[in-house]
Point group: C2
Chain length 82, copies 2
């Protein structure tokens, strides 16, 4: 069994309305907040035959579902679970 | 200027409908996915007088806005930006 931690964040230059709203709310609460960006982390537990197959699977998950290649960057770490 | 990377995730036992939907979608795409959990990462750039003040600010941001103490865990790392 493998466990992937996949972080999906917006590419620079793409607008981040959730980050902007969060910055606004922080300011209203009297916190200093110059800039906020929001990204998502998916922890996926899955089966694969080998570390290499696990990496191929995670690449596929990112490209087909979790990240939008036009506007998102993604990165991940994969660990084998005993 | 400081830069905090704050990760907010659901406490164990709380339902994660977005994670469940993601697992379902991955299965429909023929990926193995036993379990998916989704968490959020906020990158906050802000001003503070000292590292200690920066930590106090981030604790406040988490408690007052970013995390729900009933159902969320949060963790963060803070770096000073030059």
């Amino acid at each position: 069994m493998y466990r992937a931690k996949i972080e999906v964040s917006l590419k620079q230059g793409h607008s981040d309305p959730e980050g902007e709203m969060t910055a606004q709310s922080l300011k209203e609460l009297k916190f200093s907040a110059k800039k906020v960006n929001v990204s998502k982390v998916y922890i996926v537990v899955f089966e694969a035959e080998s570390k290499q197959k696990a990496e191929e699977a995670v690449e596929g998950m990112c490209r087909k579902l979790l990240a939008n290649p036009t506007k998102d960057n993604y990165s991940y770490v994969i660990e084998e679970e005993k």
